[in-house]
């Protein structure tokens, strides 16, 4: 809820500048990797809204990710491209509606029970999609053409172009960040922050907390659907794994590791986990081992996640610089 100190803001702006300039120095592989990471960052931010700000820890958030991806599949004809302007809003709407229905059912639970019941819904989607012939079952399905951004005969971007795709995703990531910042600062945002700290008190002050939790759930779901859509657009492939608890677990890890309740922490978490994975996988077949050790160490040593360390480092560096000046 509090605005960030100047050093942190500066750091974020510099990082953004770095991301904008990145394509000029990177290989195609890293361009695609960073696109993938930014998509995960959108997913992680949406979960942060739910977990970090509203206090609703969900282990089924990947369900909405999968819904966004499969909506693109369903809207993509086999021998042509779907329209970006139709399919993207559709994916977000489908995810939001699913969040509405699921939210009404799961938001009566709290604590560990909430974690489990969200997990259950994620798993139910997984099994349903695995068993459904028309979605390709457990093998998944392909999307042969990237969504087409043509509007009135003119295409502002070509999503099949890696560079265009990169900047498209970057723009969306920044837009999601700014949107969520605004929402957190709004009366709605203050209510959900209060709910996270003490829902009972919020009710006794007069807030009907259920509907606020439900709306937060829907916003998070819609944004997760956006991320899923982008993921499907990038790879042209969807599979039931997208709904599963492993995906949900990985996203939650990114949020916690990056720093819950900071909004930029999950972005850092996404970059950290994905880049670490690349680094470790390059060196050993058993890359999950150093990955697991890193996570364990991070929990023991970083109480507020990476963002906690970052803030201390950045502020220290700033003070150092200020003293020299």
């Amino acid at each position: 809820m509090h605005s960030y100190r100047l050093p942190v803001k500066l750091f974020l702006l510099l990082s953004l500048a770095a991301l904008i300039l990145f394509p000029s120095v990177s290989s195609k592989f890293y361009l695609q990797l960073f696109s993938k990471i930014m998509i995960l960052a959108i997913l992680a931010m949406s979960l942060d809204l739910l977990a970090g700000f509203t206090g609703l820890i969900s282990l089924g958030h990947a369900a909405f990710f999968g819904l966004g991806a499969y909506t693109l599949l369903l809207m993509s004809p086999e021998y042509a491209a779907a329209s970006l302007w139709l399919s993207l809003p559709a994916a977000m709407t489908v995810a939001a509606l699913a969040a509405l229905v699921i939210g009404v059912l799961v938001l009566r639970s709290s604590g560990v029970y909430f974690i489990m019941v969200t997990l259950a819904f994620g798993q139910m989607f997984f099994y349903y999609v695995t068993g459904a012939r028309r979605f390709g079952g457990s093998d998944g399905a392909y999307i042969y053409f990237k969504p087409d951004a043509t509007l009135a005969g003119w295409a502002p971007i070509q999503l099949s172009n890696n560079l265009h795709f990169y900047y498209f995703v970057l723009a969306l990531m920044v837009a999601v960040y700014l949107l969520l910042r605004i929402v957190i600062d709004s009366p709605f945002g203050h209510v959900i922050c209060g709910i996270r700290v003490n829902e009972n008190r919020m009710r006794s002050l007069g807030f009907p907390t259920f509907r606020y939790k439900l709306v937060a759930f829907m916003i998070a779901g819609a944004l997760a659907g956006l991320a899923g859509y982008l993921d499907a657009a990038q790879y042209g492939f969807v599979s039931p794994e997208l709904f599963g608890w492993r995906e949900s677990g990985i996203v939650l890890m990114m949020v916690i590791l990056g720093g819950m309740g900071t909004l930029y922490g999950p972005i850092l978490g996404a970059f950290a986990l994905a880049l670490l994975q690349e680094f470790f996988a390059d060196h050993t077949k058993h890359w999950l081992l150093p990955m697991g050790l890193f996570i364990i160490l991070a929990v023991l040593v970083l109480p507020r996640g990476i963002s906690g360390v970052l803030e201390r480092l950045v502020v220290w560096g700033w003070n150092l610089g200020a003293r020299r000046a």
Partner: protein, 291 residues
């Protein structure tokens, strides 16, 4: 009796056997959560470790019982080492950090298993004296080993019940679950209780992995698979309730078995549907207390 009825009875036996096996794993999980307030995602990894250790020793000694005799204490030792090195830092931390740390632990244990035992799927031989079937009809017979498994699980369950409800140590465990400060002020070392409960939970999971090995084989994903189902059982039964874990496991065992046989299309979903229904009816599980 007609073949159809026998077939139905066989499914009941299968469901009960699966459920009883789940009970061993889930009871450990619910005890650890109920007494130590720790969510241990790596619980399934102990199940897996037990199975792989049993397989490895059984290969070498040719004797499954000997293998179990070595493997169970070994797994408990590993568990206690982990408790001393990692878990004790989790006692008063937010559940989220427990989830995150034990998730990292799953990754580590999986890779350790991969390094030491490889990634192959292994079958384990049923001990010879149990390796026969009871003929129920000309067409249907039932493996005696499965009956043996169920009997063993029931015996272990009974022993657990007696331990928790009728011994002084068991009483300390129950007291520790309700009010740890009180237990400490009575002069009982709560750390010792925690270690005991943790060791018990690990032993149960490892033992379950071992006796299930001849039936379910030994494969890389087995830990994660049983973990998630055990969590469903614990939530349905109510966190911290061994009685709840018992009833929950039987419900899940039967639901899953019948689901696979009579409702193929939705078989994967049955246990989750069951959990959602139970939670809608009783938001803290069948026998859980609102924490």
């Amino acid at each position: 009796m007609s073949d159809k009825v026998i077939f139905f009875l066989i499914q009941v036996l299968n469901g009960a056997q699966y459920g009883l096996l789940l009970f061993l794993v889930a009871s450990g999980l619910t005890l650890i959560f109920g007494v130590m307030r720790i969510i241990n995602l790596a619980h399934g990894s102990f199940y897996m470790l037990g199975a792989y250790l049993a397989f490895s020793f059984a290969e070498r000694t040719g004797n499954l019982w000997l293998a179990m005799l070595i493997a169970v204490p070994l797994t408990v030792l590993i568990g206690l080492l982990l408790e001393a090195a990692l878990f004790r830092f989790l006692y008063d931390r937010d559940h989220l950090y427990q989830v995150l740390l034990t998730y990292g632990l799953i990754l580590v244990l999986e890779e350790v298993r991969s390094i030491f035992f490889g990634d192959d799927v292994h079958g384990v031989k049923v001990p010879d004296f149990l390796n026969f079937s009871l003929r129920l009809t000309p067409a249907l017979s039932y493996p005696v080993y499965r009956l043996f498994m169920s009997a063993v699980c029931v015996a272990v369950g009974a022993a657990l019940y007696i331990f928790i409800n009728h011994t002084t140590v068991g009483m300390s465990v129950r007291a520790g679950a309700l009010n740890r400060e009180m237990v400490q002020s009575l002069g009982i070392d709560i750390g010792l209780i925690y270690r005991l409960v943790f060791a018990l939970g690990v032993a149960l999971a490892a033992f379950a992995g071992m006796i299930a090995a001849p039936v379910a084989s030994v494969f890389p994903g087995m830990g994660n698979q049983i973990l998630i189902i055990s969590f469903v059982v614990v939530v349905i039964g109510g966190i911290g309730s061994v009685k709840g874990a018992f009833i929950g496991s039987l419900l899940i065992g039967l639901a899953d078995t019948f689901g696979q046989v009579y409702a193929r299309e939705i078989s994967g979903m049955t246990i989750y549907l069951l959990m959602v229904l139970v939670l809608l009816w009783r938001p803290t599980g069948l026998f859980g207390r609102a924490t």
